[in-house]
């Protein structure tokens, strides 16, 4: 231990840190938010949220009895994109679609065989527009299955069918287009927000509520020292939880990690500065646990989910909402964390975002010191 007689400041600081760390480790809510919830969130994002419709349940209405119609229907049944659960008339299948049992009806109309014989062949897809995302995926995949079938048939008959203009698409960083690869790193951003803002706001507000912080302020400890003893343990907790999530992401969910470990830790550490600043500010500005927790949910958790560009494209939002995203710290984290996982180190992208986050941190801590001073006075 440090000798208090020789280094009073250092001894005081170590004692305080020890107290804070013990307090955090003893509290079951810390364990819940820092470890149980992150792991749960990662599992839900990894298994539960899947934006890639892999096998959509559809009905088939084959109104034509030609060989071509039968052959195409067989191709749909064998396709891994479709799970043909029922065949029947459009009307019968329509009722199933209202019930939500199927998501689309693929119609092979009466004149299909004759059209195919003449080198054409048109099918119809009726989608369940109540799920717009699935609907547009299904329409695209149905056209894909039809086009592949038509090309195969034409080449069997020795006809060239290449379209006039073809687009050779390549998706960098995520060639298989697995939504998991951007959802799981995004979940890590949410986890750090939960620890930095939600947990800190909740726990520190309780101390204000109970008056234990006023008791601490009566000791010779300085304001900066005091805030630092609150920050350091939660900072460490955030880093530990982030590390746990990253290991799960890489080894359980197989998300590629192409950047450096150093860059990942730097990104996480920088993001925790404004996140903790926000949590401390909420707790010292509001006296009450319930209100603090609701405010933390509304100002930290929700914006990180909705306004960070994690799920929804910022550029597509209305102007007012786009302007709002500039004050959401997670907006500057999401591109960094997606890049460090999927693309690799790119300090040209990291550095400006980090600078902005540190700027946020400075402002939030400034406000924090002011609001704490006022509360003591």
């Amino acid at each position: 231990m440090i000798d208090p007689a020789r280094h009073p400041r250092a001894a005081r600081f170590t004692a305080m840190m020890l107290k804070e760390t013990r307090q955090i480790l003893r509290d079951p809510s810390t364990f819940l938010i820092a470890f149980v919830l992150p792991v749960m969130l990662l599992f839900l994002m990894g298994y539960g949220v899947n934006l890639d419709a892999t096998s959509t349940r559809v009905g088939m209405a084959v109104e034509d009895d030609s060989g071509a119609a039968g052959s195409l229907a067989g191709t749909f049944a064998a396709s891994r994109y479709f799970d043909v659960v029922e065949t029947g008339s459009v009307q019968e299948l329509g009722d199933r679609m209202v019930a939500g049992d199927i998501r689309a009806i693929i119609v092979i109309p009466q004149q299909f065989g004759r059209e195919v014989a003449a080198g054409g062949g048109e099918i119809q897809v009726i989608t369940d527009g109540a799920l717009p995302n699935t609907a547009s995926f299904v329409a695209g995949q149905a056209e894909g299955v039809r086009a592949t079938w038509a090309a195969q048939r034409a080449s069997d008959h020795g006809m060239a069918v290449a379209p006039p203009i073809d687009v050779l698409s390549r998706f960098w960083f995520n060639p298989a287009l697995a939504s998991r690869n951007f959802l799981v790193p995004g979940a890590i951003a949410i986890v750090m927000t939960m620890i930095g803002s939600l947990l800190t706001a909740l726990v520190v507000a309780r101390e204000w509520e109970r008056g234990t912080l006023e008791a601490l302020m009566a000791t010779p400890i300085g304001m900066g020292e005091f805030l630092l003893t609150k920050i350091v343990p939660y900072f460490a907790l955030g880093i530990v939880s982030m590390t746990l999530c990253t290991l799960l992401a890489i080894f359980l969910f197989g998300v590629p990690f192409r950047g450096s470990v150093f860059a990942l830790f730097a990104i996480a550490a920088v993001y925790l500065v404004p996140a903790l600043g926000q949590g401390l500010l909420i707790s010292s500005a509001l006296k009450n646990q319930f209100v603090a927790s609701q405010v933390a949910l509304l100002t930290a958790f929700l914006p990180t989910m909705l306004l960070s560009g994690f799920v929804f494209e910022i550029a597509s939002m209305p102007k007012l909402l786009q302007a709002l995203t500039y004050i959401v710290p997670a907006r500057y984290l999401i591109p960094q964390i997606q890049t460090v996982f999927l693309a690799g180190d790119d300090w040209g992208l990291f550095a400006p975002n980090m600078a902005i986050l540190l700027g946020f941190g400075a402002v939030l801590f400034g406000l924090c010191v002011r609001s704490t001073r006022r509360r003591i006075a």
């Binding site: 949220v49 717009p132 591109p335």
Partner: protein, 386 residues
């Protein structure tokens, strides 16, 4: 603040003890002005945030073009892209290195690369191709942009020599796929979001209210006072169920009115059926919230329990991504998730004019969940009293 029994309801509807506890519970929730604010403000903020932020359209796109061809057909395609309402800017790239950097830095979401022979191929009637590189880090947006590109190419193709040759051979006969979208012809994403949001807001607000109820009284010590009163246990619990159901009905009704008015979402189904299903939904949510509240010793624990439960409830509801896409074991878990069922009813009532049989087949699981969770909560409450 004073609360009176509404005149239009006969007093004999329920006994005097229940009337008293209903009044007490409603006062407990509505008395504190800050708490009143917390009940109504977050749902309204969420209403506007979710509705405007959740968009699956991709607009204001920036696209890079590396045109080594410079001929008629590459210019034609680029002009059409520039004219698209979804595209904000087309950036001209000079080299492959610039292309790579623009994607890496996320300056553009896609770059099109036309080779030097492109227009010559098109003019000669040979199959022509150009490359498109997308930023797969935003794989969802990239896929949507890719479908926009396909559409533009599809529009240009018929005008090419090869395209007109194919058209001549077909001679007006159909080819390809025509798509019709039922229930939501233009695939307006907000038509999906708002009915889903109704299910979610009801869950968030009613669970938040009920999870605090028993826990707060336990922390403040007033639970013991309640227990020594002449009220029976089941009356206490029924009293606690009252405010979340009132709050849930209030919020949902507000949203059912706002959704068609503000966002033009059609309301095609039967409202009485919707409210019938809603009551069972709110009972199931109240049961779950009550379980949290009975288990928690403090308000903080109740808050954390609520948070730990509502986040997965929302993620598994079918709002974040379709339940169909989840692995089988997770789909089995969603059977126990009230929002999964009510989301179907809500979407069906708004968009699909859902018939009674379909509404009821999505409502009876909610009734089962309500009975089970309320029974478990009251059993736990009794056993924790002893």
């Amino acid at each position: 603040m004073s609360l009176r029994w509404p005149r239009f309801l006969p007093k004999s509807l329920i006994g005097p003890r229940l009337r008293a506890i209903f009044r007490k519970e409603l006062l407990a929730v509505l008395r504190d002005p800050r708490a009143r604010l917390i009940l109504v403000t977050p749902p309204l903020i969420q209403f506007f945030l979710f509705s405007f932020a959740s968009t699956m359209e991709v607009t204001n796109i920036r696209i890079g073009v590396l045109d080594l061809d410079g001929g008629q057909w590459s210019r034609e395609i680029v002009e059409r892209i520039e004219g698209s309402p979804n595209v904000r800017e087309v950036r001209v790239m000079r080299s492959d290195a610039a292309l790579e950097k623009a994607i890496d830095r996320q300056d553009v979401i896609a770059v099109l690369r036309f080779g030097p022979e492109f227009s010559a191929d098109v003019d000669a009637g040979r199959p022509a191709a150009f490359g498109a590189v997308y930023d797969g880090r935003r794989s969802n947006a990239a896929q949507i942009v890719s479908s926009y590109m396909q559409r533009i190419v599809g529009d240009v193709s018929p005008a090419t020599p090869r395209g007109s040759a194919i058209a001549a051979r077909l001679d007006g006969r159909g080819s390809g796929t025509t798509v019709r979208n039922w229930f939501n012809p233009n695939l307006d994403y907000i038509w999906f979001v708002m009915p889903a949001l109704i299910a979610i807001i009801a869950a968030v607000s009613s669970i938040a209210v009920v999870s605090q109820s028993v826990a707060r009284e336990r922390e403040l010590g007033t639970l013991d006072q309640l227990l020594v009163s002449p009220l029976r246990t089941h009356e206490i619990l029924i009293g606690k169920m009252f405010p979340p159901i009132v709050v849930g009905l209030f919020n949902v009704t507000l949203f059912v009115i706002l959704t068609p008015l503000v966002f033009g979402v059609p309301l095609t189904g039967s409202l009485p059926l919707f409210y019938l299903s809603l009551v069972f939904y709110l009972l199931a949510l109240t049961g779950i919230g009550m379980l949290i509240s009975v288990v928690s010793a403090t308000q903080q624990q109740a808050f954390l329990g609520m948070f730990a439960l509502t986040v997965p409830m929302i993620i598994l509801s079918g709002y974040a991504s379709p339940v169909d896409n989840m692995p089988g074991w997770l789909q089995a878990i969603t059977w126990l998730n009230p929002p999964t069922w009510f989301l179907v009813v809500s979407e069906g009532t708004f968009l699909k004019a859902m018939p009674a049989s379909d509404v009821l087949s999505n409502t009876w699981p909610l009734a089962v969940q309500a009975v089970l969770s309320l029974w478990a909560a009251s059993a736990l409450f009794r056993s924790r009293m002893e």
